[in-house]
């Protein structure tokens, strides 16, 4: 050894270098990659930041509304300008197709996209799976996170169940529900559970969500982009209404309204007004200016959406093709002279925007936020309508009418037409349901059709019929004669088909609905 190392200090250097190199590398390699990205979940603040990320959750591209009688796509409007309707899922969903919708290239955004409901469920599960492991935060913080995540998961499951599964009835209990996803891992069983199990899960989540203590308004500002007592009560009211449990629905609607009952007054120019207009050239006529509500102004800036003061829980129905075409039946429900909702939300000749710029082929559009979004989360307006409907169905006609008229006072020009009157309970109910349709077209109608046809009252049942061309893989076959499409009361098409990509990716674990 002495021969090998003539100098002891050199020996030391070599040894230290080698030992340092080998011994400390565990610590050396545990340095995190970045300070602000690629972070493992370790703190309560991180979980809170996840739940604060409303931009992931607020927009839902649910296509089920296209199948309702609110949607005005039919052979006549299609022929008006076919270029307006080239989004294939749009056509497939409008006529309850189950053959081509699952193979369309556009996929299914609600089920399978980075903004889809399963992604929301992933966020909720990430919070719930890590809540006991993370450091920091008070007991209250963690309790709020827990209720918040349960609400997020509950809302997502409810929306998925009401889109891809049959209505939940005694007879349908054994039908296919949804996979039960409780972990962020990819290894979980994806078999579709029974509808009963899925609804038990939803109710269990709702029960946890109802434990929330955080009120809607904090420091004078409604914080509706996260869960709060009014949001959960409001959603519970919607849930029980859809289960045709009017007593429970009424109870939760009252709880929500007791906490927060602010409505936007469409009669006040400071609250509802026209924003930036748009001018279009019209073939053979003077140019035409579309008057659009101020809510149309901002496409990407959510300032007006967040500022919409009727929200209890901030959610939007999104439609990427930008054209909510109201059916004639829906248009005719409005009192065109007095209903401010017609004035602001139904934009006549909206199709000029798409280049349908001859005066004969102008089609109206329903415009709420920009061209693509309509509020779909629980709102005060929805609470008034649930309350009125439940009162009407349970025999309190006067209470029902006064409740719905509270809402109408903020929507109809002052005068004799504000107050609805009815000779009997059935008439009151009919008028309240019409009001509901006027107030929340495109967002609640699909769920309403499902419950109307499955409650004990046959008077509200709806069979939807539409006139259109036969549909093929490549779209409408306009060379064939127009035919009638019918959605029967208990059609199995009330459960939308799941996209084939999902079934293939599931490699046999996920099954398609039966038709």
């Amino acid at each position: 050894m002495k021969r090998l190392f003539r100098n002891k200090s050199l020996l030391l250097i070599v040894l230290v270098a080698t030992v340092y190199g080998l011994g400390s590398c565990e610590k050396f390699l545990s340095e995190r990659i970045s300070k602000n990205s690629s972070l493992p979940l370790t703190t309560t603040d991180q979980l809170t930041a996840l739940m604060e990320n409303y931009s992931v959750f607020y927009s839902d591209e649910n296509q089920s509304w296209m199948g309702t009688d609110d949607y005005g796509l039919n052979a006549k409007t299609y022929d008006n300008k076919r270029g307006n309707f080239t989004f294939m899922p749009n056509i497939f969903r409008a006529f309850w197709d189950v053959d081509f919708a699952p193979v369309t290239t556009s996929g299914d955004v609600l089920w399978a996209s980075s903004g889809g409901e399963w992604r929301d469920i992933f966020y909720a599960n990430a919070v719930l799976n890590n809540l006991d492991k993370v450091t920091g935060g008070s007991v209250e913080d963690k309790a709020r996170l827990k209720a918040d995540a349960h609400m997020l998961r509950c809302y997502a499951y409810w929306q998925l169940a009401n889109t891809y599964c049959l209505p939940y009835t005694e007879a349908n209990k054994g039908e296919m529900g949804l996979p039960s996803k409780k972990l962020t891992s990819f290894e979980e069983d994806l078999t579709r559970q029974s509808l009963e199990k899925t609804y038990n899960d939803i109710e269990a989540d709702l029960k946890e969500a109802l434990k929330i203590a955080k009120p809607l308004v904090s420091g004078g500002r409604p914080e509706h982009w996260r869960s709060n007592t009014a949001a959960v009560n409001g959603f519970a009211a919607r849930y029980y209404l859809n289960r045709n449990n009017y007593a429970e629905a009424l109870k939760y609607a009252n709880l929500a309204l007791n906490e927060y009952n602010v409505l936007v007054d469409y009669n006040k120019p400071a609250e509802m007004y026209y924003g930036t207009s748009a001018t279009y050239t019209v073939t053979g006529a003077p140019s035409f200016t579309l008057q659009l509500p101020y809510t149309h102004n901002n496409q990407t800036n959510l300032i007006d959406m967040i500022g919409w003061k009727e929200f209890l829980y901030f959610r939007m129905q999104n439609f990427g093709s930008w054209f909510y075409l109201p059916s004639t039946e829906l248009i005719n429900l409005y009192d065109k002279a007095n209903d401010r909702r017609y004035e602001f939300h139904i934009v006549e000749n909206y199709s000029y925007y798409f280049g349908s710029n001859t005066p004969t082929n102008g089609l109206p559009g329903y415009i709420f936020f920009f061209k693509d979004k309509i509020p779909s989360g629980p709102t005060t307006a929805e609470m008034y309508l649930i309350k009125a409907e439940c009162l009407a169905r349970t025999g309190d006609m006067a209470g029902a009418l006064s409740t719905v008229n509270t809402l109408r006072a903020k929507r109809i020009k002052p005068g004799a037409s504000v107050n609805l009157t009815a000779a009997n309970q059935a008439e009151a109910l009919t008028k309240i349901l019409q009001e509901r349709r006027r107030e929340m077209p495109f967002v609640q109608r699909w769920y309403d059709l499902r419950r109307f046809n499955n409650n004990s009252d046959p008077a509200d049942d709806v069979v939807v019929t539409k006139q259109f061309y036969p549909i093929t893989f490549a779209g409408p076959d306009v060379s064939q004669p127009i035919k009638t499409y019918t959605l029967e009361k208990n059609s199995r098409r009330y459960a939308l088909p799941i996209h084939n990509n999902e079934l293939i990716a599931g490699r046999g674990t996920l099954l398609q609905n039966k038709y």
């Binding site: 990205s37 991180q46 930041a49 996840l50 967040i306």
Partner: protein, 824 residues
């Protein structure tokens, strides 16, 4: 004439809706007439005046430059028996193809090597570098967006206003420009390049020190450490006469175009007038510590042992610093402006009032829309750490038989809950046999022949994924909720493993006819497994695809090298080298739920398909026009689809796979001839057997924003084509989805062409001053040379398009250089 046809977007010339529709002057004239703002006579006069114009010369004079590089080198070297010192300094200036875009580079290097004692060497290497990259010039994209008749200068030399930034008639008609902070709204690229200073400066330093200890013969230890500091500073200063300043200040002034009195209402400034300054910097500090032991000993009478083992540690910390934009800046006095009405943001209670007047916290721009101004810094901080340990042993017996083995373990700071996972051992083993040394091998013309065989595994890891979900934090609170947010950057991959590639290699090295022919032959097969690929997973998991270790790929190939060195005559010597390689690639395993046409035609990793070459070019099959006058594309089940929607179904069944985009065969041929003091050399390269998509007609669409209807040079091809063979212009007067054609028209299989090429890469003629003359001058070396690069290329496609440089991109012009080089 395509104006206003085929589902074109119509332009109402409205200041709010259409101000950003940057159409060409020709489109503008047609549209203004249609809207009734100008007469037919005026329109035709405007079009006529444009007809005779051509801006080619002005573009060349005002925006383009000859690319020139200049380089100066100084090298100093001194050496004694125990120590050597070398110093070099380099200065380089590069002018780009664009005026006002150039860089300057300075590089200084000092190296010293000292034999401190017989058994200890010391080395030091220091490099300092400074680059100044000035990027004020225009760009190819901007020049291409000019209409060919759109002049940059008027006859009197003043700058024109182009239509590159606005629908200018609407601005002229509806904006009281004299009331705005800056009355000039025009944009001219030739003027703009002189009004800005966009410079990025690099300051780099690197230091390396090492010692080598040789305690006994055949054993050595090497230890070295390297430290690096890189700093880049970016600074963009825009003058008050730049479009950037005029436009930013004007557009962010509050004005309400909807008011009846708009034309006489002065806007309210939201940003101060003055220069605009943007600054940012990035900094990276890295070190690297390496220790190696080498043993090179004779074992027994016939054995040789060669052993190397070592460790290496690396760390790099990269930081970024972004500064908010400075408005109202004055570079002469260093004064700057404040936001007169604050930076904008959210009013606490949502709505604005109905009069269009901004409430206290919301500010609005010239279109009466909300505006916000960033006022915060931004930061980034990332750390990369690596650790490797490696060992390599080779034993040679009798100078003929060699067995070798190596192992290696690499670790990095992956995020994992099991530290063991950070390391993965890889290994290889091999042997070689020097056949020519065998007694039984007596072939006269063979000087040398060696057989080599190796087999081994190596691996790779993707640091962006992890076993567990990872998130990213927002750097500033959400502007609307005032809360920080987080999102998942990775959903986690619980089955994450290292990517592994097993390589088998068999080769021969040979030398024949006394060195007149030498080279090698290699056969290889690389089996990649557990390769990370984006795999379709059920969306129930929270994502429709995830990087999973699921793909397998095989590469097989042969590489050959053939060399020669011979004296043709006494004074003429020839050196030649021919390289040939062939590679075959196939994806053998991959799970994709649905092969969509959009992903297969994407020409990246999402076009991977099992059983096919990874670089396959998938293209649509054009099927001609149908009876409804719609062009069609082949779809699934032999059904023709019109081009109004995407095509559903398994795209493998109906797309044309025209070939692979990466050349399976490559060839390199280098030759040099020495004749007395002259040397002539040339390099020819070639790629064969692959395909590319040539440029076709661009089918310009009249659409809203930057839809300048500029047809490319293939317009005649599209006009004259048989509509059964090639997509022509629409045949229907109304074609509502003409804009959708761009999803198909550059993906048709008729555009696929052979991409093979042969290129004269370099020719060089050098004259060396003869030694006898040198002696008198004091130079040790003096040469003068003439060199040509990228002189010509032979293409297999008849369209004259170079697959390496698509039409419409900058391709290298033939370049000749004259050089002088001398050493003291």
């Amino acid at each position: 004439m395509a104006f206003d046809k085929w589902g074109a977007q119509t332009n109402a010339g409205n200041i709010v809706s259409n101000s950003g529709w940057t159409w060409t002057p020709g489109q503008n004239a047609l549209n203004e007439h249609k809207l009734g703002f100008i007469t037919l006579g005026r329109r035709d006069a405007m079009l006529d005046s444009l007809k005779g114009l051509n801006n080619r010369e002005q573009i060349s004079d005002l925006l383009l430059s000859n690319p020139v590089s200049k380089q100066y080198n100084i090298n100093l070297f001194s050496a004694t028996e125990r120590m050597s010192n070398a110093f070099s300094f380099m200065f380089e200036e590069n002018q780009s193809n664009f005026k006002e875009t150039y860089n300057k580079r300075f590089l200084a290097n000092y190296r010293t090597l000292a034999n401190v004692t017989k058994w200890l060497d010391f080395s030091l290497n220091t490099t300092l570098q400074h680059n100044a990259n000035t990027n004020n010039g225009s760009s190819l994209a901007e020049i291409q967006s000019l209409a060919p008749y759109e002049m940059l200068q008027n006859a009197n030399g003043s700058y024109t206003g182009t239509t590159l930034k606005y629908y200018t008639p609407a601005i002229e008609r509806s904006v009281p420009r004299n009331l705005f902070p800056y009355t000039d709204w025009s944009y001219n690229p030739a003027r703009e390049i002189n009004t800005r200073s966009q410079v990025s400066r690099d300051y780099n330093a690197r230091m390396q020190a090492g010692i080598t200890i040789k305690p006994i013969k055949g054993v050595s230890f090497e230890s070295s450490i390297q430290y690096e500091y890189f700093l880049t500073q970016n600074r963009s200063l825009y003058d008050t006469n730049s479009f950037v300043v005029r436009n930013t200040i004007n557009q962010n002034a509050f004005w309400n175009p909807g008011l009846p009195a708009a034309m006489t209402t002065a806007p309210i400034l939201n940003l101060p007038k003055g220069q605009i300054l943007n600054q940012s910097r990035t900094q990276s500090v890295a070190w690297n510590f390496r220790n190696i032991m080498r043993i090179d000993r004779r074992i027994g009478p016939k054995g040789d042992l060669n052993f190397v083992a070592g460790t290496e540690q690396q760390s790099r910390v990269a930081q970024t610093f972004g500064q908010p934009t400075t408005y109202g800046y004055n570079d002469a006095t260093l004064q700057l402006g404040a936001f007169p009405n604050g930076p904008g943001g959210t009013p606490v209670n949502g709505n604005q009032n109905g009069t269009g007047v901004p409430t206290n916290l919301t500010i609005r721009n010239w279109q009466n829309q909300t505006a916000t101004f960033g006022y915060t810094n931004s930061f980034g901080y990332t750390t990369d750490r690596f650790f490797s340990a490696f060992g390599n042993a080779a034993y040679t017996h009798d100078d003929k038989y060699t067995l070798s083995a190596s192992v290696r373990s690499d670790g990095a700071n992956f995020i994992t809950n099991d530290p063991k996972y950070r390391y993965n051992p890889f290994w290889s083993a091999g042997g070689s046999w020097q056949i020519w040394k065998e007694n039984f091998f007596k072939v006269k013309f063979v000087d040398r022949l060696t057989l080599r065989v190796t087999y081994g595994y190596n691996g790779n890891q993707d640091r962006s994924t992890s076993f567990m979900p990872l998130l990213s934090l927002s750097s500033t609170p959400n502007v609307l909720t005032n809360q920080y947010t987080a999102s998942f950057s990775s959903l986690g991959n619980p089955t994450l493993r290292w990517e592994k590639t097993g390589t088998t290699n068999i080769g021969f090295d040979y030398s024949l006819f006394k060195g007149k022919l030498f080279g090698n032959i290699n056969l290889y097969q690389r089996n990649g497994k557990d390769l990370l690929a984006s795999i379709a997973i059920p969306a129930v998991n929270g994502s429709t695809s995830q990087f999973l270790n699921n793909a397998k790929m095989v590469n097989k190939g042969i590489e050959m090298e053939l060399g020669t060195m011979m004296d043709i005559t006494k004074d003429l010597r020839w050196r030649g080298n021919l390289n040939f390689s062939y590679n075959k690639n196939r994806i053998t395993d991959l799970f994709i739920a649905q092969y969509n046409s959009s992903s297969l035609t994407a020409r990246n990793t999402s076009s991977y398909a099992v059983d096919y070459n990874a670089n396959s070019l998938w293209m649509y099959k054009y099927m001609g026009f149908n009876t409804a006058g719609q062009p069609t594309v082949l779809g699934p089940g032999s059904v023709n689809f019109d081009m109004q929607t995407f095509i559903p179904g398994d795209a493998r069944t109906y797309l044309d796979r025209t070939g692979t985009m990466v050349a399976p065969v490559t060839l390199g041929f280098m030759n040099s001839f020495e004749y007395k003091d002259f040397n002539l050399s040339f390099i020819v390269t070639g790629n064969f057997g692959h395909v590319f998509q040539r440029r076709g007609f661009n089918y310009p669409v009249q659409w809203s924003f930057a839809s300048r209807m500029l047809a490319n040079k293939f317009v005649d091809e599209a006009l004259n084509a048989k509509s059964s063979e090639m997509l022509t212009l629409p045949v229907n007067p109304t074609e509502p989805r003409f804009y959708f054609w761009d999803r198909f028209h550059s993906y048709f299989s008729y555009l696929s062409q052979s991409a093979s090429w042969i290129r004269m890469q370099e020719v060089n003629l050098t004259y060396n001053l003869p030694k006898s003359v040198l002696k008198k001058t004091g130079f040790t070396n003096f040469r003068i040379y003439l060199q040509g690069n990228d002189l010509f290329v032979i293409l297999a496609n008849k369209y004259g398009e170079d697959p390496l440089y698509a039409l419409g991109t900058l391709n290298p012009r033939p370049k000749t250089t004259v050089g002088l080089k001398f050493d003291f």
